[in-house]
Amino acid sequence: MNQPSNPGSSSTPRDPQSTGDTYIDWGPELPSEFSSGRARLMVVNPTTLHLSWETAAGTALANAEAWIAEVRIDQAVLKSTYRVEGIPDLHSYNCWMSVEPKSSGFVRILAVVDGQIRRVADLAYTTPADRPSSDLTERWGALDRLGGFVRGQAAVLGQRVPIAEQVSSPYSGTLAGNKRSI
């Protein structure tokens, strides 16, 4: 599901089409053109992003010769690139992009207009984890009667601190058992 694909156009289900005697009412048409450009990057799962963008009719970007979407981890490291050739009178695009789990970066959208590459937008992302964390440090807390946060400090690696001891002293700032700096 959601394998990286070549960019393609977004589409809404088409208007009612008769299938034999069956009329399907899809409801009112939604706009196919927009008065302003938007790009949105949505995290789908730990390894997949969905990028979509629409241009405003009549603008230079609406006539872009090509679009390029780059996944970047930082300014210098380019992870992957997707490219779509401009399609006349098409104002919306979307593509699926592969990334690493539990990673952060951004997607840069570029457009080729009159032979020049123009940066259109940078969109940040953070993907979720797909496995348990390797961080075993521990902090414990509770809420006071007003819902405020009360934290205790405990960093015990490989040493078990009985829960009863923690419950008895959640607000003291220290807990029984061996401690090490977090």
């Binding site: 599901m1 959601n2 977004s10 809404t12 289900p13 399907i24 009412d25 899809w26 409801g27 009112p28 048409e29 939604l30 302003s36 938007r38 790009a39 949105r40 990057l41 949505m42 995290v43 789908v44 799962n45 997949t48 969905h50 979509s52 629409e54 603008t59 970007l61 979307n94 951004f106 959208i109 259109v120 937008a121 940078d122 969109l123 940040a124 992302y125 953070t126 979720p128 984890a129 496995r131 348990p132 964390s133 390797s134 961080d135 075993l136 440090t137 521990e138 902090r139 414990w140 807390g141 509770a142 809420l143 819902g147 405020g148 934290r151 009985p162 829960i163 923690q166 419950v167 959640p170």
Partner: protein
């Protein structure tokens, strides 16, 4: 001293479906079926447990759209008419089949409907929520809320939009239950970084996440999903236990697949002559009507299903309940030994599983609470609120972004079939935040228009539509609903932006979507709230 605790959580939800513009509407059947097969029987179960002095600790989420439909006079009237018709039909079937192998099933179906009639008219006086309020007041039940229209918060693009889903839900809960909610069932248990800030702002500090929402948390929780964790913003996240789920949900090894249980797909709506079904199916094709007289029998074709035997099925439900409790005790004992601490087994389910999809489900639940009461020295039934009273301390971890949808993240709501929805939702959300933030001293008419625009936006945000499109069930209906609400929203915004509200159009929209009478459009105003990190990044360009 019990080795562990079990928290059963039932999530009761239906999307807002009410079409007063039609005398009957097929999709409204979803509500009527759920009332007859789940919501009323669950009240019956709770009443019985109370009557017999069985200590019950159950948690239920009743979503705002469901509460609004249960309280809607128009839908209540339609339900009563349907109930009366079904009772008549069941009585005639019981007569017709009394000397056949289907006699017991038909007789039991008629008796069940008569019980529902008593529960509806005498017990609840047509107001189901009063039954649930009663059990919340006695302490047997904890009711939590859900996002206003079951919106998937990680895919809502603005901080204001997420805040509004929660704030509208809180206001609605206050209207129906007279007090603010402490807990919330996030739509699809969808957690994303920053969601906890929106919950905390609304005074909510309890929620539920999928198993890996806890197990993949940062840092790694010492006790995995067998203890709730506490987010940095101060929200307790309770993780689902997959073992509890497997025994109930699994199509292959779960209890509901037992061959003695009632077969869902053999329904009289497909078998009786159309003129007999006329009052129930007057507006379209044949469909389920809820009268079913066959048992699962085995892995056989539908036409090979045999007669349902209610007494045998009831006995099976009691056996399965005892087995379930015993398995939980064994599980808790093993966990307690390795954890050296009391484990919490969180068992969340869709409420509609019990009664609608699995007919004997309410009997199973009744059996679970009775058996757990009998063995209360070995297993403690609890709710998240009770648990926190006894265990106020939790490990501070940031839950992993996750959902309980297929795949564990957002794939169900964001795929090739439904991504188009978000182009429009994101723009609509952005537009409404701007509109409300800059709205200055609106007139009474503009207040109404703003409220209705908020309703239309919320209804378009319902995660049910994207879900239905993915599941390929009633796709045209889901698409139409999305388009319709977005179109109405846009029309109202145009009116407000131009300073000229079409009164006739507004009145029509209000009549067609009479949800959230208490809605407060100011929830969408930008107030400099702390920005969380959603699963969406947006940029504008020329």
């Amino acid at each position: 001293m019990p080795a562990g605790s079990l928290a059963v959580v039932l999530h009761a939800h239906l999307p807002w479906v009410h079409h007063p513009e039609h005398p009957t509407f097929l999709e409204e059947d979803w509500l009527y079926e759920a009332i007859l097969e789940t919501y009323l029987p669950l009240i019956g179960v709770l009443d019985g447990l109370e009557r017999d002095g069985i200590e019950t600790h159950l948690t239920m989420s009743l979503t705002p759209p469901l509460c609004e439909m249960l309280a809607c006079p128009g839908l209540r009237g339609r339900f009563e008419a349907r109930l009366a018709t079904l009772i008549g039909l069941a009585a005639s079937e019981a007569d017709r089949l009394q000397d056949t192998s289907f006699g017991p099933a038909a007789e039991a179906a008629h008796a069940d409907l008569l019980r529902c009639h008593v529960l509806w008219h005498e017990r609840c006086q047509g107001e189901i929520l009063s039954g649930y309020r009663h059990h919340q007041a006695t302490g047997a039940l904890v009711i939590v809320t859900c996002g206003a229209t079951h919106g998937l918060l990680p895919l809502i693009t603005t901080t204001e939009g997420r805040h509004a889903q929660i704030a509208v839900a809180r206001d609605n809960y206050l209207k129906h239950f007279g007090q603010p909610p402490r807990g919330i069932w996030l739509g699809e248990c969808a957690w994303q970084a920053g969601v906890d800030h929106a919950l905390k702002t609304a005074g909510i500090d309890i929620t539920f996440v999928e198993t890996h929402g806890v197990n993949y948390a940062e840092p790694r929780p010492r006790f995995g999903h067998y203890r709730p964790i506490l987010s940095e913003a101060g929200v307790f996240a309770f993780g689902r236990d997959p073992e509890c789920s497997r025994q109930v949900w699994s199509a292959d090894e779960g209890y509901p697949g037992d061959f003695h249980y009632r077969e869902f797909y053999r329904d009289l709506g497909w078998e009786l002559p159309l003129d007999t079904l006329e009052p129930l199916i007057s507006d379209g094709p044949r469909r389920n009507i809820g009268l079913k007289f066959h048992r699962i029998t085995g892995k056989v074709a539908l036409d090979k299903k045999e007669a349902y035997l209610p007494e045998v099925a009831s006995q099976k439900a009691r056996e399965h309940a005892a087995h379930f409790v015993n398995q939980r005790i064994l599980q808790a004992n093993a966990l307690s030994a390795s954890m050296q601490a009391e484990p919490l087994l969180m068992a969340p389910y869709d409420a509609e599983l019990f009664g609608h999809w699995w007919f004997e489900g309410p009997q199973f639940l009744d059996g679970v609470f009775r058996e757990a009461h009998r063995r209360r020295d070995e297993l403690r039934m609890t709710t998240p609120v009770d648990w926190l009273e006894r265990h106020p301390v939790a490990q501070i971890c940031e839950p992993c972004p996750s959902s309980w949808g297929d795949g564990g993240y957002w794939d169900v709501w964001l795929n090739g079939e439904n991504t188009w929805i978000y182009n429009y939702l994101q723009r609509a959300e952005e537009r409404f935040v701007e509109l409300t933030t800059h709205m200055n001293a609106p007139s009474a008419l503009e207040e109404r228009a703003l409220g209705q625009a908020a309703r239309e936006l919320l209804l378009a945000q319902s995660s049910d539509w994207a879900f239905i499109i993915t599941m390929a069930t009633t796709v045209p209906y889901a698409v139409k609903r999305t388009r319709t609400h977005l179109t109405r929203f846009a029309a109202l915004c145009r009116d407000l932006e131009s300073g000229c509200v079409d009164t006739e159009q507004l009145g029509r929209f209000e009549t067609l979507s009479p949800i959230f009478s208490e809605i407060n459009w100011r929830h969408w105003q930008r107030h400099g709230r702390r920005e969380g990190v959603s699963g969406v990044s947006v940029a504008a360009f020329d």
